[in-house]
Structure formats: C-alpha cells, structure tokens
C-alpha cells in the first residue's frame, strides 16, 4: 500500500475536484475512481451565491482532502493560502503549487523550494507540484517534502508524460513517494507513469471534462491498477534487436 507521511492509501489514483459540470457528477466520478485522496482549491465565497458550496457534498470520512495553493505566484502567497487551508480544512496536508505564469502554469522551482522548507518547519505535510527536475526533487525531499509531484506535461493539456526521462530518474532516486501530476489525458498515460514506478498519479481534467466522467474515472482506476501490477511484476527489458518468441529450432523439415 502507498504510504505518505504515515498515512496509507489503497488507491494510487488521486482525484481532482475542478472543472466538473456539477457537484453530483463530481461525487459520482470520484466514487467510481476509488480515489481516497482528492485535491481542493481555496477561493473567495461568492457573496451573490453563498449556498454554492460543492464541497458540502463530499464526505470527509471517505475522502482525504489535499488542499492546493493554486493561484499562488510566489512563496508568500502560497503560505497565506496554506494557512487559510489549514484553518478551514482542519488539515495540515498541502499540495504546494507556485505558478507565476498563467499561460504555462509551470511551477517556480525556487519559490516552491523556499515555501516547502518554511511550511514543513511550520508543521505542514507538503506535497510540492514541481517540474520534472531530478535535482529539485532531491532538494525538496531534503527539506522535508512528504512526496514529490513532478508534472507529466502542463496542467490541463492532456498531453501525457512528456517528461519520461526525468521522471524515471526522479523515481529511481526518490526516498519519498513520487506522484505524477498534471497533463495525464488518457488512461494509457496514467498506466505508463505507473509502469515506470510512480507511486501514484493525480488526474483531474481528463476525468472531469470527459463525455462520461464516471466511466472515465473507472477507466483511469483500471489503468492505474494495471500499470502498478506491471511495475511490480517486473517488465521485460527493451532491446534494439528482435528476439523470437517462437522456438528457433525444430525447423529442419523446412529446408
């Protein structure tokens, strides 16, 4: 089982709660995904629609909330959001996101490292969203990150794991769980990440915007299970030359 900061998870598929067409669809899809850990964001209450509280539909005993700091452009903004999350959510777990560029939503490595160090010292369980940089992953775990969350491709792009080479190094070196986050657009992408040895994946957009989010959630769950089973079973080596699957002997009668 996956263990992060002393808490165990049966499901290696983490769910996101953004972009769903309705709270009802979101809940059904998350239940179908089998996810136990789900991300949430923090925003101002809409004073014109104060009853609009989609999180009220989610059972906190069933889902482990992982508040994110989405929208933060530097460490200070992220820390402010972290403290708000801790106050409203009664949790010290945090998906740290520091994304100064709204066009790419790529994480700022320096601010992310700085915020991780400060937040860990303040008692947070920090899972930083990061570019797939093996050196940064080591530095983040050195300052106390509970897991690292390298991106497959930019948030919401559905492009899959474009960072395979770097993610593989991160997985090989990591002493903390590696959660491939962002850009996983199809179950095959999630399976590929799991086959490489990722400890978990986080999927939001691909499920939320699917024609049938509930079935897509099931498809991702199956892909994550398959990928994990393949990794644990030991994949065959890749090679440059063909290697016959059928016996090469016993063909004397042909010649």
């Amino acid at each position: 089982m996956l263990e992060i900061a002393g808490k165990t998870f049966r499901s290696r598929l983490f769910g996101g709660t953004g972009k769903f067409a309705s709270a009802k669809v979101m809940k059904e899809a998350l239940m179908a995904s089998g996810s136990e850990m789900i991300t949430v964001a923090l925003r101002r209450v809409d004073l014109n629609d104060p009853e609009d509280d989609i999180m009220a539909n989610l059972d906190r005993d069933h889902f482990w909330f992982l508040p994110n700091t989405s929208g933060a452009r530097d460490a200070e903004e992220a820390i402010r959001l972290a403290n708000l999350a801790r106050a409203v959510g009664n949790t010290n777990w945090l998906k740290l996101e520091v994304t100064p560029d709204p066009r790419t939503l790529l994480p700022d490595p320096i601010e992310t490292l700085r915020a991780t160090e400060l937040l860990v010292k303040d008692g947070f369980v920090v899972l930083p969203y990061m570019n797939a940089d093996p050196i940064l992953a080591l530095k983040l775990q050195d300052v106390g990150a509970a897991a690292v969350m390298p991106l497959g491709s930019p948030i919401g792009t559905n492009q899959g794991v474009l960072t395979k080479f770097q993610v593989k190094i991160i997985i090989d070196q990591a002493r903390v769980p590696v959660v491939v986050d962002a850009g996983l657009g199809a179950p095959s992408h999630a399976a590929a990440a799991m086959e490489m040895g990722a400890d978990a994946v986080l999927v939001n957009t691909a499920i939320a915007v699917a024609g049938d989010p509930v079935r897509m959630a099931r498809a991702f769950a199956a892909a994550v299970d398959a990928g994990r089973a393949a990794f644990e079973s030991g994949l065959g080596r890749q090679g440059p030359e063909a290697s016959a699957s059928s016996p090469e002997t016993g063909l004397d009668f042909l010649r």
């Binding site: 953004g18 923090l42 004073l47 509280d53 999350a85 409203v88 948030i155």
Partner: protein, 66 residues
C-alpha cells in the same frame, strides 16, 4: 459602519460580530475561514470577534480544484 467583504463595500451595524455577519450573508460558518485585516480568525472566536469600522474581511472556502 462600513466594512469591506471579499472586495465589496458593505454596511453593517456597529458591534456586529463575525458570526452575525456570516448569518446575515447566509453563509455557513462551518465551511469558511475568515481573514480579518490579514489575520485568520479562529472559528470558535467568530461569535466573540466584533467588527471594527473599516475592517477588511476575506471569506474563503474550498472549491473544486486540481
């Protein structure tokens, strides 16, 4: 007395508590965090924290996100 709530100017009665304000705005106090003049107010202090003229409040809650 004038205060600012989530960037919008609001009028409220003097000696109003944060809890009363949330009730007036029809917001469930259990689901929000209140930042008053850049300080997070603990939920158990909503009833006893009295708003001052010119206070700037942020009412924040969880929303869907990835």
């Amino acid at each position: 007395m004038n205060i600012t709530v989530n960037g919008e100017p609001k009028e409220t009665s003097p000696n109003n508590s944060i809890l009363n304000l949330l009730n007036e705005l029809e917001i469930n106090a259990q689901t929000v965090v209140v930042e008053c003049d850049n300080t997070i107010i603990k939920q158990e202090e909503y009833a006893t924290t009295i708003l001052q003229d010119g206070a700037v409040l942020e009412l924040i809650r969880f929303v869907g996100g990835g």
